[in-house]
Amino acid sequence: MVRYRRLRVPRWLCLSLGVATWILLSCSLLDAMAPVQRVALPNGLVVLTSEEHSLPFVTFKLLIHAGARRDPSGQGGLASLTARALLFGTLKQSMASVNEQLDFMGASLSSDAGRDYMVLSLRVLKKDLGDGFKLFMEVLSQPAFPADEVENEVTRTLAAIRASEDRPGEVAEKAFSKALYGAGPYGQPVIGTKESVEKLTVEGVRRFHGSCYDPNNSIMVIVGDIEEHALKDTIVPQLSAWKGRAAAVSAVETKPESAKKTVMIDRPLTQANLILGHEGITRDNPDFYAVTVMNYILGGGGLTSRLMQETRERRGLAYSVSSNFDAGKYQGTFRIVLQTKNASARDAIRLAVAQMSRIRTELVAEKDLDGAKKYLIGSFPLRLITQDGIAGFLLQVEYLGLGLDYAERYPKLVQAVTAEDVLRVAKAYLHPEAYILVAVANVEEAGFEK
């Protein structure tokens, strides 16, 4: 299924970038994917490209290390606000003018920050490539950050924070992160809190932009209907001209809570929205693949998972129940998420904890192990088909340093996991005795003690 293709050095790179240090890796990923080229520009920006010409459009994604983890203390939400404010107009033209042009092309430009990084994305028809990319570079390198628009956005953000209180799943997520990471950067919502967002200013946005937006350490992925000459003549010169003077990305201290803890949020709901979890693993942990297989059997494998079988299929207690190891670059969490009518909440929690314990004590059956591996390996190509899917995948591969041969190595990494590995990592990384429980529920109906 996986074939290796030789890749020739693209001539445009040699011609245009004599001084660039670039590494070119041959990588076919899967049959589905066109070859990928990787180059580091003199300004430090890493560019990955994958040409695919069957549809006349192009997807760009730029990752910058400007996520919420770099929010200054007390200014939660600044990274997120800055990312959005990038689209509020440039030194050359107003926001209305930028939006008018984008909409006229039918293009979409978005800018959003997560916990660890922000991503600026553009999808544009090939016929508008030049104009679309010019706008992309303009918002990236010459944002105006007009004070009135930034102030409006602060008002809207406060409203959005308020609106999110009507979504019990989000309320539970926020409470869980806070209980696990406390006042540190991973304990705060990316969007910020009412208290922190009220304090955000346009000066803060400018400062954050100046100190975090920089080509060095950033990653650009270009996928779709684009040719060498367009890359050489249009794209690379503009990307090379992008300058920044950002501070280096530094480590942030995270001290996850490790004691058992319960957080109850009382709401007049019909269901208890439950999260049960604790610290997980980072993405570079060599046990990542064993953990992935273990989690698939426990609660990641859709209807076939143990949590789903016990909670939904046997007892009809929930529509949705799943477990997940969110393995980030700097931190990781483990969570079981489920919703059930208030009256069943305590039963559902007991069932979930019992399954965590079971996989820590019993060796998984060979057929369960085999089924998990077959799914994880067999479904991998389904990720790599749309432009958006491929671009997102390449961004992760580069960001996490997985190597451009990752798609080819993946089956072997999963295949090597044994039942003993599953038992070992379950013992090491699941803590049924010391988890954080968050319940957003009608506390009385659920029978939780007040």
């Binding site: 589905a32 039918g106 809190t193 076939t304 089924g371």
Partner: protein, 467 residues
Amino acid sequence: MRRAFGATFILLPVFLLLALVGSSAAGLQDVVSEAVLPNGLKVLLLENHKAPVVTFQVWYRVGSRNEEFSKTGLSHLLEHMMFKGTETIGPGELSRIVQENGGQHNAFTSTDSTTYFENLSADRINVSLELESDRMQHLMLREQDFKTERPVVMEERRLRTDDNPKAIVWEQLDAIAFELQPYHWPVIGWMQDIARLTVDDLRNYYKRFYNPANAVLVVAGDFKKDELLPRIERWFGTIPKGVQPEGRVPLEEPQIGERRTVIKREARLASLVIGYHVPNLRQQDSEASQDSYTLEVVEALLGSGESSRLQTSLVRKKKLALGIGVGHSLLSKDPGLFSIGADVLPDKNVTDVEKAIDEEIDRLQREPVGERELQKAKNQLEAGFIFQQDSLFSQAMRLARYEMVLGWRAIDGYLPAIRKVSAADILRVAKQYLTPDNRTVAVLVPLPSTKAASRLPDSRAGEQAIR
């Protein structure tokens, strides 16, 4: 914005990201082949060799529109039961088999149809052939499975609707806008009805609606149609021919005045939705058949992109709304609603939001849209049409949805019809349909919290450690 597809089966957002199809320039007529088996099963095959995968979709012409008063939610509950095994496949086996073959699968029910699909590696297409032909005829509807699955659907309703104030507003809008059409009730059904349905109801419904003559099979991806079609014939051809049930439902009488409802719920923000009755492609004579396409352009003008009229007015200039949305379901089987929704910013007035929307409607009815703005809306629709082809799944889905309403060949008429829309068409259509007498307005009035938990705006309030 009106969710055409009400309820999905499995919880996780399934990645509907498959390969692209054909070239945007080529008409579908050239790349799709159609066959009808002697038992009435319609088969649509779309070859695409870009990636070694296929999407395999079985669409039954049955949805909540085929249900009746006091038995709502039947289509969706049956969809759940379709995963509970057949005479040869035990309960839970189906998912295991698909996943062990590296496949992703799910199902969804809408007002108009029920769909089952697998996305898998092209060399595993037999899995779909075997499983889907089996459950088209041999479903075991066991009482014990029904007993555990009904509560699952009730949990699904609590999750999607009962604990979601905005979903209730949409549910109420439909309930009031539609008096005669079955779009009156939600796809998932009313809670009381779900509680009352019996396994015999499901058996009768399955017998009536699940047969080859009432289904469309769409396969898109990396296969050769000359090789695949005989295999489809082998697996599906032996299923006895059924009858395609009568699909006609009553239609609304013309609305004779505005309808309005207020929903009072604990919530943080007020919101507002307005629905105007509009015709659909199916119901129109050829003279008026442009109207649905004209409404597509109106939808884009009002709500598509940051520079759209409602976004500019309500969100940017007047700062009344946190967000707006405009919806028009081009491919509904019965006439639907053209809808406008807005989330009202705190301390702003719902009445002012409604007034600002009215001003934009009024402007559509008074001033011809300028040439550039009209072109912008058309460009957005055209780009959207091309972007959609990136996903093999949505391409197959579009084929099937057209097939349900007008026949799949009508897809090739979409862009030409959009290009033909004139400023005069927009004036006329806005005057004809977007009138106060033809609309239903549903308003969410937030009630303050009854729980100590949320009395304080601080997000930390109400948390208490109990251990």
